[in-house]
Amino acid sequence: MVAYYLAMDDVFRALADASRRQLLDRLFAEPGQTLGALCQGLEMSRQAVSKHLAILEEANLVATLKRGREKLHYMNPVPIHEIADRWIGKYQRAPLDALAELKRTLEGEDHG
């Protein structure tokens, strides 16, 4: 569990920066951009973008693919989904678990 919480720390730390959230928004709008494409129209230096991307990649919020000499960047929503599961999912699970429990009880009685 320690590794799990550390990984989640990375996600929150990476998200706690407006520039990095802006990069995620741009990758969400247009997946698979190169560093060069991402830098266009931004007021950040190429070096700063590169540094932010490394932090996002470390937190698994950005996934990359190599295509020839190009490195393509994608927003990876999986860690954010895990955060939602961690705190929101359990509220939605409760009714489902209750139904499953009811089914077990009823079927248990049926079969004696």
Partner: protein, 151 residues
């Protein structure tokens, strides 16, 4: 993204073995637990066909297994069959890779299609996060997070 292309990449880290993860991806009994009852009807051989089958027997997606290299990598040709606006786009490519990484398995799912603004890619990209969350939970804790598709 390059012109004329649609794609997404999802990555999750799962504390398990490559073999257990591969089995979870390719065994019907295992798959239906985390994929909302869905199974793949295929003999999992390169060159063979596959069909995605729902519990009621309906088939929504199908294709061909292009590469099958246990427990590391598979490549699927992927076509949707039911919704006409997705079916007309033809085949996408789905690459699934497993790499050991720092004591866990890095699972990478990449879907791509040679078409700008693909609706198929948009549709499948919406489904994967919850499937992956379920798969991770099932392998690490023995239980899934989501039993139904709608949340």
């Amino acid at each position: 993204m390059a012109e004329g292309k649609s794609s997404f990449v999802y990555v999750t880290y799962i504390r398990t073995t490559p073999e257990a993860l591969w089995e979870a991806l390719t065994t019907s009994d295992f798959m239906r637990k985390y994929w909302f009852g869905v199974t793949f009807d295929t003999d999992w051989k390169a060159g063979g066909a596959w069909k995605m089958v729902y519990p009621d027997g309906s088939v929504t997606d199908s294709g061909e297994v292009l590469a099958f290299d246990p427990p590391r990598r598979m490549v699927l040709k992927w076509k949707h069959e039911n919704r006409p606006e997705l079916a007309c786009e033809g085949y996408a490519l789905c690459t699934i890779e497993i790499e050991p990484h720092d004591g866990a398995m890095k699972l990478t799912i990449c879907h791509e299609m040679e078409r700008t603004g693909s609706k198929l890619i948009e549709a499948v990209s919406g489904g994967w996060p919850r499937i992956l969350a379920n798969l991770k939970s099932l392998l690490e804790t023995g239980d899934v997070l989501w039993r139904t598709k709608a949340g």
